[in-house]
C-alpha cells in the first residue's frame, strides 16, 4: 500500500506549493475573517487530494 501511494517528485512539488501559497494563506484569512471563497478553496483542495489518492489506489 505505501509503495502504491508513493507520489512522483513533480506531484510532490505541486502539492507543496499548493500548501504554502494556497492552504496556509487561506487558513490565515479564514481565521481572521469569515468568507465564502475560503470554504470553496478548502473544498477544492480536498477534491484534489481525493483524486490523487484515488489515482494512486487505482480507483480511477
Amino acid at each position: 500500500m505505501s509503495r502504491k501511494l508513493k507520489l512522483n517528485q513533480d506531484t510532490v512539488r505541486a502539492l507543496r506549493l499548493m500548501i504554502v501559497v494556497g492552504v496556509l494563506p487561506t487558513l490565515w484569512v479564514l481565521i481572521n475573517t469569515n468568507f465564502y471563497a475560503g470554504m470553496v478553496y478548502l473544498i477544492l483542495g480536498g477534491v484534489i487530494v481525493l483524486l490523487i489518492l484515488m489515482e494512486r489506489l487505482g480507483v480511477v
Binding site: 512539488r13 505541486a14 471563497a37 480511477v60
Partner: protein, 155 residues
C-alpha cells in the same frame, strides 16, 4: 494517465508564466471582455486578505485542480487520448466554476475564463508543469485586484 505537477525547469516555466500573465493584462487593456471573476470576498475583510486570496490562494488551488489533476482524471475516466477534448472540457468547467462560485456574469465566465482556461491548459501541456499557469493566473488576478482596489489619481 498522470497528474501534472511542477518539473525541474523552474526558471524557464516561471518566465513563460509571467510573460503569458502580462499578455492577458494587455488583452484586458485591448478589450474589457477579457477578465476573470475575482473571488467573492466582502470588502470588510480588508485589502491584504483580499490580495492573499486573489493573487495567491485562488491561482494555487484552481490551477492545481483544473490543470493539474482534472485532465488526467477525465482522460482516465473516458479512456480517450484526444487531448484537445480534455482541454476544452477543463476550460468549460473552469468557466462554470467562475460562474457558479464567484457569481460573475455568464459572458465574463464564458469569454474571459474560458479563453484563460484554454491558454492555461495549452501552456501546461507544453511545459509539463503547472507553475506557468499558476504564475499567469497570479499576475492577471493581481492586476485585476489592483484595478478594482487602488486609486491611481486619475491615471
Amino acid at each position: 494517465m498522470g497528474f501534472v505537477g511542477i518539473d525541474r525547469n523552474y526558471k524557464q516555466d516561471a518566465f513563460i508564466g509571467l510573460t503569458a500573465g502580462i499578455g492577458f493584462v494587455v488583452l484586458n487593456k485591448v478589450s474589457a471582455q477579457f477578465v476573470l471573476g475575482l473571488p467573492a470576498i466582502a470588502l470588510s475583510v480588508g485589502q491584504l486578505s483580499q490580495f492573499v486570496v486573489t493573487a495567491m490562494a485562488a491561482p494555487a488551488f484552481e490551477e492545481t485542480f483544473f490543470r493539474g489533476v482534472l485532465p488526467g482524471t477525465l482522460q482516465s475516466l473516458f479512456h480517450n487520448k484526444t487531448w484537445w477534448l480534455f482541454n476544452i472540457a477543463q476550460a468549460t468547467l473552469f468557466a462554470l466554476f467562475h460562474y457558479a462560485a464567484y457569481g460573475v456574469g455568464f459572458q465574463t465566465a464564458f469569454v474571459g475564463a474560458f479563453l484563460f482556461g484554454l491558454v492555461a491548459g495549452l501552456i501546461t501541456k507544453y511545459t509539463n508543469s503547472i507553475l506557468p499557469s499558476i504564475l499567469m493566473h497570479s499576475v492577471f488576478n493581481s492586476y485585476l485586484w489592483l484595478m478594482s482596489n487602488v486609486s491611481f489619481g486619475g491615471i
